[in-house]
């Protein structure tokens, strides 16, 4: 594999940490960091219950939507969109101080919430195609990463249950994987429920196979970008109104409702 040469090679993923400075450094070195114990106890239970409840609602109403980077034949993994509107508890994840501190260390402020969706892998669930999240940014890429993804481990992530797989250090190559690099060796995230993984938009990754017989594994992906990019989720059309009504200043910026230069209404910021 071409990419593993020279200094892009990092042996595996960085260890779990509770030190945010170390975590920010890990993102620079590996393209990803793992932070332990961000959600604990009742808070974690509330998030988990709310997510599985939303998943159940979608299933019973036939509202599941697949993602084009998922394999066609994959009928097992479940995606849940517009997670922010499903329960107020998800607002806390979007603006969680630890997550936002790491997001800002990668893409600065102001930035936008491009999407927050969940992926629940299930036994037999297939892999995703290896990709970098800033796939839509034309190459040559600007010097800095243009987005950052915060993965909330709602369940424990293991290799067996389809923990997201990474090519550590691949962000230093500063480009998308080529077709012949689809089989680049990857390392799965292994982290307890309540941990987060924060990874910048250039690092190559994919969902792993769920090889278990009976485990579902939920992860919530909050995707943030620099403010020049169009949000994946159209919050103006889909956001539950009370989320906007009670939104903090920070949340208004993330939703693109408090804005400068782009996304204006009558020449001014909508909020």
């Amino acid at each position: 594999m071409a990419y593993v040469e020279a200094e892009t090679r990092q042996p595996g993923l960085p260890p779990l940490t509770r030190n945010l400075e170390q975590a920010a450094q890990d993102i620079k070195d590996y393209g990803i960091c793992l932070v332990d114990g961000v959600l604990e106890g009742k808070e974690l239970t509330r998030v988990r219950d709310a997510l599985y409840r939303a998943a159940e609602h979608d299933k019973t109403r036939g509202r599941e939507q697949q993602f084009s980077l998922d394999y066609e034949e994959d009928g097992t993994n479940q995606r849940i969109w517009n997670v922010l509107s499903r329960d107020p508890v998800f607002e806390d994840l979007v603006t969680h101080p630890a997550a936002l501190e790491l997001v800002k260390s990668v893409i600065g402020w102001p930035c936008l919430l491009g999407n927050i969706s969940a992926n629940i892998t299930a036994p037999g669930g297939g892999e995703m195609v290896l990709h970098a999240d800033q796939i839509f940014v034309p190459e040559p890429w600007p010097a800095e990463p243009q987005g950052v993804n915060v993965v909330w481990c709602v369940d424990e992530f293991t290799e067996e249950n389809g923990g997201t797989r990474f090519a550590p250090g691949s962000h230093l190559l500063h480009r998308l994987p080529r077709e012949d690099e689809a089989d680049t060796p990857t390392t799965p995230i292994e982290a307890p429920a309540g941990a987060i993984a924060v990874f910048e938009s250039r690092v190559w990754h994919k969902t792993g196979f769920n090889k278990t017989k009976d485990q579902r594994r939920a992860g919530i992906f909050a995707w943030y970008t620099k403010p020049i990019y169009r949000q994946q989720e159209n919050w103006y059309l889909s956001l539950q109104p009370s989320t906007r009504q009670f939104a903090s200043e920070e949340m208004l910026v993330l939703l693109g409702l408090k804005t400068e230069g782009l996304g204006l209404v009558n020449g001014a910021s909508p909020a």
Partner: protein, 405 residues
């Protein structure tokens, strides 16, 4: 070799890769030797080229001089780069041979050439330099600005010059309809206290800016979807695009220049070697130097970044055209509203600004387009306003797809 390993090369390794790339006629290899923001200068014309402009000249050279060889007299590493003295031997397509002595001084940073100054010497050198294409020098006055009679001609001019004027698109009757709608819109905004003057990007409070044209009158929606626009916009930025903004600027006597910018200036450099945006400007009144015709920097679309902030010594050329014309600008073109130096003339210009679909529009259509306008809009207009499939990332067909379909 991995790209990371390449970053550790010495200046002399870069020199070797650079000249062997030119000898082999390998454009990609040469491009990889230049930093995206590299500047290339020759003593023969004193012009600073961007990387892509220089590669265009080299591509010409590869065709015109199929056999090339460098006889290197000396190549030495100097602080911050390398210097090379050589004689370039070439055999041209017409069979004639030449030997061109030259000296090159290169600045190399992080394994890439950031600046190249080349001194060509001798008659052969001058002859070759004279034979080179000089598209970027061609536009010096208003009369040189490319004008197209057909869509195909306009497309070719956009590719080469980043700009094209088409005259006689709207007739007098249509122009009157547009002027009425502009007048009506300004009156309505005034009545409602909507800001019309003194925006941060204007130098003074004299010009009138009118926004939200799509929602103001049907005639503006027709312009956004004008058949010419629908042929030229996809040519420049691809068939999946968004309308980012549609606004008007009415210059007033005494108003100053706007300040040079590229429309895609908010996208961080280096830009990709193709445009991310395109502007279709509608001249509703005559655009003359006197009344503040838009001015632009010829060949600026070949670069990978906007003008240096605060620098004002760029030479600009006015885009003059009669009422009813459109002019189309690649999003990379450096331009500005010209000063209105007339005593009593105003001019209306309308600017329909389209972007590739991953860029966030300047105007938030989701929050502003009224239900009835949306209902009457064609599927294409709906898509342009972002109400179609969400095409973020569609460059790689990253659509959501419904499982059932």
């Amino acid at each position: 070799m991995s790209e990371a390993a390449i970053r550790k090369e010495s200046a002399l390794d870069v020199a070797e890769r650079f000249f062997s790339g030119i000898e082999a006629g390998n454009t990609d290899q040469v491009r990889a030797c230049y930093a995206p923001h590299a500047r290339i200068w020759h003593n023969t014309d004193g012009i600073e080229q961007t990387r892509e402009q220089n590669l265009a000249v080299l591509n010409w050279l590869f065709g015109a001089v199929p056999e090339r060889h460098y006889e290197v007299t000396q190549r030495v590493e100097v602080p911050g780069g390398f210097m090379q003295q050589h004689v370039m031997h070439g055999k041209m397509q017409n069979g004639k041979s030449f030997a061109m002595p030259a000296c090159i001084i290169c600045r190399v940073e992080e394994g890439a050439i950031t600046r190249l100054d080349e001194y060509l010497d001798g008659k052969d050198g001058e002859a070759l330099a004279d034979a080179m294409p000089k598209a970027h020098q061609a536009i010096k006055t208003s009369a040189d600005v490319p004008r197209a009679k057909t869509v195909e001609e306009a497309k070719a001019q956009l590719d080469e010059f980043g700009i094209s004027i088409m005259e006689g698109v709207l007739n007098e009757e249509e122009l009157e309809r547009v002027r009425d709608a502009v007048r009506g819109g300004v009156e309505r905004d005034e009545k409602h206290g909507v800001q019309l003057h003194g925006f941060p990007f204007d130098p003074d409070t004299l010009n009138t800016r009118i926004f939200d044209l799509v929602n103001k009158d049907e005639v503006f929606r027709e312009l956004v979807e004008h058949p010419l626009a629908l042929q030229l916009v996809p040519h420049v930025i691809g068939s999946n695009f968004l309308l980012s903004n549609f606004s008007g600027n009415i210059t007033a006597p005494g108003s100053g220049p706007m300040g040079l910018h590229a429309d895609q200036g908010y996208v961080p450099a280096p830009w990709p070697p193709y445009p991310l945006a395109v502007n279709i400007a509608w001249a509703i009144d005559d655009f003359t130097v006197e009344c503040g015709a838009t001015r632009f920097v010829p060949a600026s679309h070949g670069g990978m970044e906007g003008p240096e902030p605060g620098r004002t010594d760029y030479e600009t050329v006015p885009i003059e055209c009669p009422a009813g014309s459109i002019f189309v600008m690649d999003g990379r073109v450096w331009h500005e509203t010209g000063p209105n130096i007339s005593k009593d003339k105003t001019r209306i210009g309308l600017f329909a600004y389209y972007v590739r679909p991953f860029l966030r529009p300047q105007w938030n259509w989701s929050l502003t387009v009224p239900e009835d306008v949306l209902k009457e809009a064609s599927p294409l207009l709906q898509a342009m306003l972002g109400f179609g499939d969400n095409p973020t990332g569609s460059l790689n067909s990253l659509y959501l797809k419904n499982k059932k379909s």
